[in-house]
Subunit: 349 residues, 2 copies
């Protein structure tokens, strides 16, 4: 395991992007968001994805000179065409629009088409917090791993939602969740380690529990709450994808398997200006009270603490600000091979 | 089992409300929505609730002359104070505002405070469909049955969400779900029938599966996807309750146990004007295609069909429009005792 600071990591990522033709300003935006993902503990959505992004750029699967622009506009809502830019750029731009629009309208809903994989959902839901706004982000996942309830065809993705809510003295509540019981990354990790996975994560083609992750290609992820999670994944896909003219269902491109086809990824971000709803400080104080009342509940046997969403991620962030972001040796090698190929300096420790 | 038409049922309900002092116009609005709930198969949220609503009115727990009004307003968003009216009246009013505002702004978000139990979530999410809009409704549930994840104190409700999305030739998609694996009503029904409940619905105070519904008071509902459903219930409660200055968490009044305390129920409704996002007909056609692709998936053993959310409810509606709404004998007696007490004519068959 190697440890790097968030600044070192962001600098390395931006140099990689610049080396393949992204402008310096845009490379810095994307690198900053990716390094922030790692800082917050979203290890599967930060620098881990860099080789894949670079591969897609080198395969002409990403537009290096995008014209990210508003194509529908009613003030409180707009649709942004990402022009097949890196997803982080599109969503960063869309979220800035959402924040600005919510100042005037109290609420804003910005849909996105022709975007790409944009990292962890929490990144964008958290951006409105800086203006004391609530953020809600939903994305069409970048590969289908979920069949409809009762079916076997992979027509749905883990379509995640993130919601960020400001507090006063407490840290904000930041929910970031897939609509499946387990994210696909966890299955892959278990397979690498030769561990079995719990019943309830996956089923096989006959509907029986699948607990050997090495056989994951023979089965399907299970949605949370059975038909409920299927329903959530379906409506999230229609709202983040179809409504914006983006891909959903059969049309979703598996970006893990295909680096050239345009993904037409869809996402949306909602910003709510808390002070439009009433007294800002009172709201934040009430959120503190809700957080504290949850924590103060008597505990079930086996639980050391009751947490609110975002708490673990915040603890990880504090820890990594002190001791650096851990980079597994294998990933470290992959990144420095990438640096070699791009003729840039390796990742510094 | 007795069968009544939706019109007979609505007429009966409105007479009950008029008898306890609700204006004729308002009684008709609430009765229409309640009878529609029964027509659509939401048996636990329609006329079944009438005796409880009447009891609350007679216990001065409802304001009979409410001034339902906007107290915060930025155009695309507003907060409505329900003035402790019947929840159906408040939400009907708020949803009309949401629809009107979405015409101009493309999106609208109307929060509600000082409301009450308003029946099934789908009722309000479906209202925007008549204007080719998408509706999203979230409510703070009217009794806490859920502890935070890892805890044992009942601080959360089943806080449901409903999302309604228009289609072209297909019926609209209508998701209506609690954030718990099972609704509390299903536990009660199993207890009445002396049946056990499946593992995964409830746990006891030690965290072990609880399968005897007669012991439900010793245990807790389980959220969908464990900590994920807890997170959803929490953020839905903050958005529908706290943000609007309505009750959430410790402050929620159990309206089953207490008919006098003001509940200060919170809800919100979002309307999205589809044509603001692009071509309306194309969108609806794409929704049709998504629905058909889900249905066409190969099936797992044991499944007779793959459904989309709202399909069962629509089938129930068609059936009940033909053969009437079934009223169990026990409920039929309760309703006619109520009619006796209110000195109105009994429910006609």
């Amino acid at each position: 395991m190697q440890f790097v600071s968030v600044d070192q990591l962001a600098l390395f990522i931006s140099k990689c992007f610049i080396a393949v033709g992204i402008s310096k300003r845009e490379a810095q935006v994307v690198a900053g968001l990716m390094a922030e993902s790692d800082l917050n503990g979203s290890d599967g959505h930060g620098v881990f994805r860099l080789p894949q992004y670079i591969d897609r750029i080198q395969s002409d699967g990403i537009n290096l000179k995008p014209n990210i622009r508003i194509i529908e506009d009613k003030g409180a809502m707009a649709v942004v065409d990402g022009d097949n830019a890196l997803g982080h750029l599109v969503m960063h731009h869309a979220t800035e629009i959402a924040i600005n629009r919510a100042v005037e309208h109290g609420v804003s809903w910005i849909g996105v088409r022709h975007s790409n994989h944009a990292g962890p959902a929490a990144l964008y839901a958290k951006m409105p917090l800086k203006k004391d706004m609530i953020g809600i982000y939903v994305a069409v996942g970048s590969a289908n791993h979920l069949p409809p309830w009762g079916g076997t065809e992979l027509l749905l993705s883990t379509n995640p939602i993130a919601v960020a809510i400001p507090a006063l003295e407490e840290q904000p509540i930041v929910l970031d969740m897939a609509t499946t019981v387990a994210a696909y990354g966890k299955i892959k990790t278990a397979a690498q380690r030769g561990e079995s996975i719990p019943e309830g994560w996956m089923i096989d083609g006959e509907g029986n529990p699948l607990t050997d992750p090495a056989k994951s290609h023979e089965g399907f992820l299970l949605p949370i709450g059975g038909p409920k999670g299927y329903g959530l994944s379906l409506v999230f896909g229609l709202l983040a994808g179809t409504l914006n003219g983006a891909a959903f269902g059969k049309n979703v491109v598996d970006f893990n398997a295909d680096s050239t086809s345009f993904t037409n990824t869809g996402q949306f971000i909602v910003a709510l200006s808390v002070e439009s709803f009433g007294n800002l400080k009172l709201f934040k104080k009430n959120v503190d009270e809700v957080i504290r009342s949850m924590r103060a509940s008597p505990k079930l046997p086996g639980f050391d603490a009751i947490r609110v969403p975002g708490e673990r991620s915040f603890q990880t962030k504090c820890q990594r600000e002190q001791s650096g972001i851990p980079i597994p040796d294998e990933l470290f090698e992959v990144l420095n091979t990438l640096a070699d190929n791009l003729k840039i300096e390796p990742l510094r420790l």
